[in-house]
Amino acid sequence: MIPATFAADIVGAGALRPGPAPVTRPAPAAVAQEQWSAYRLDDCTEQSLSPPGQIKRMGRGQAMAIAAVQRAIDSCGAPPARGSATAVSVGTAWAEEGDEIIFLENLIRFGEKGAKPAFFVNSVKNALASQLALTFGFQGENQTFAHDALSFESALWQGARLLRAGRARHAVVCGVEALVEFQEIHGHLLGCYGTDPAPLAPLAEKKRAAGQGTLPGEGAAAFVLTAPGAVAAPLARLVGVRARGPLQRAPALSTSDELALVEQALRDANTRLGGVGLLLVGANGDPALDEIYAQVAQRLRARAEGLAVGVYRHLTGDFATASALGFELAVRAVAGRAVPSEVRVVGGEPRSIERVLLYHVSSAGYHSAMIVSA
């Protein structure tokens, strides 16, 4: 294995992904179109996702996070212990915003008498991380990162950081976003999404029309991390995370800046591009953003012939923490030494995969590179 200055072993992974195609429904009056589409966890309401025997209502994001973490734990040889040796690190841009909107709508409809206390409590953004702690009994360091497309990467970084500092024996890291109607309205009004109901086809020949943007989605992915070497046969090893925000609003994205981030991430991880089998990117079908992704992929492929390029947001839709679902696919790729069949390969011929480089950039200019190794 290539030694790395920054590493954590991934010993468990699990994900909840939306249905294979976007769902189209009548749109509310607030947006200027009759129908709208989104990738949804089909038929997965918080009721069906809630742990069995749970009578009390649970927020949808909470239910998704718990289900993902349970899957990650189930995939572990030795599950993380209850108590203070297990830390929790959640990345979520909006947490349980659905409950916040319900609280606010009741306040507006009924006046201050309509304030619903249980929904206020749940709308505080650490509701997912604290519910995970409550459900699984994890009492170690508990952090919620809520910074748009940096959220999951920060959570991952912190989990690895804690383990290296010896402040936890296990870190449960989760990236989650539950689609909320208000979020969809917000995205449509700000021009992120369009009216084309077709499944996303990132980096495909046939592109979405200009101005069509992408489509919203939702999902959750969770990982159990330990310090490197703590377990005999981890699924994979995280060897680098580099995530940065822009230094101005609505920045002009440049291929050279993007390449610089990727190159620096490779240097941080002491990894050569030649050793990377798969470049997995968060291209979301938005024509303008796809262009940047295509240029970056092309330049990287020119330097490393063996590099295959894959996309995954045709499975998830677009949301700030979708990179967590990409990460789960990367872990599976390394664990199985092969590209998972759901990933769509858009360039190159995948061979045996020992290393995956994930690269993400958003229209707002947040970008990240993550490297997973066998």
Binding site: A29, A30, S84, A93, A95, E100, F103, L104, E105, L107, I108, R109, G111, E112, K113, A115, K116, P117, F120, V121, N122, S123, V124, K125, N126, A127, A129, S130, Q131, A133, L134, G137, F138, Q139, G140, E141, N142, Q143, T144, F145, A146, H147, L150, S154, W157, Q158, R161, R164, A165, F182, H186, L189, L190, A243, R244, G245, P246, L247, Q248, R249
Partner: protein, 404 residues
Amino acid sequence: MSARPRVIVTGMGIVSAAGWTLEETWEAIAQGRSGLRAISLFESQRCAKLPVGEVTGDPAARSGLSGGSRSDHLAVWAARAAWSDAGLSAACFAPDRGAVVFGALSGGMMFTEEFLSRLHLDKRVEPHNLADRACCNSADRVAELFGLGGFRATVANACASGGAALGLGCDLIEAGEADVVLAGGVDSLNRVVLNGFNSLMLVSPDGCRPFDAERKGMSVGEGAGVLVLESEEHAHARGARVRAWLAGRGNTCDAYHVSAPQPEGRGLHEAMRLALADAGLAPAAVDYINAHGTGTADNDPAEAKAIRALFGEAPPAVSSTKRFFGHALAAAGAIEAIVTVLALERQAIPANLGLRTVDPKISLAPVMEYRQAKLDVAMSTSLGFGGNNSAVLFRRPGTWGEMR
């Protein structure tokens, strides 16, 4: 363990109901003057008479930031003050080595409120402020302003966010990932939080009285606190003034209940213990604790029990300063950390304003009057919904050996 870089506070900036500067804040504390008053930021029927910690004056006019939410304006004000206090300039660090970690909760909640109100009541769609409602915007605005191109995060740990952000700032410096970190917290008043806490029957009609026998709850507040953190090597190399050492921190989760603290304060106990272990100090070394002390029925006894359990029969001097500026939510941990550093600098303990008679069920004797004291080590604690706990420990310069 001692090979890791030690973390220094080289600058601080603050704004709250107690004032717009460090001086104004400390003057209010020294004079025992509460900044709580009835809300003027928006209309309310049920909450109209509840004392809140509202910042007086106009943050939008004073921040120098064009556009953005109230939270953004408060954050930028405090960040500018901290930057200037630390004597920083762009030359002090490479862009990729400057980081921002802010605790936040509300963000631009008022914009969400306004949008939904207009939609429901007038059927009008006015999206122009929607882009400014995310709670991560404040950190972004500060990063843009000061060219902080390194690690960037918004921590949303409810009322323990500010303290958690400081701990994360330490993590970055110890990991060698940043030379300068602007760490802190910001929050602003809005209808959701005020009505939210009020619907939980947690808000006092006569202003918070932490640890008091007649306490009736918390007072919701707002504000921002920003601390500049650097490694001692980096601070020394540029001749920065040391305000305090950030010597230790601890972060835990009760895993007990969504909003009530574990009644024995066990999670907080562990956070404080971790902070002491981190600093390599025994409990007896602590001279002052700036407690979370919100004045609610549940928080105060749990916190008192945690302090007694860890510090024993003769705990350090304790006071909660929440009656000066209210419970500033995600900003509280940062604002109160600043007050804690000021206490070390001024060698004085803030009074537990609002306290008349200690609750007989609480075995603590908080400091009732502002007084001078020899203080070398002080701790700031925060507890949040969901059981998040944070403890941050500071040492006065000159008490931790020579600069290395």
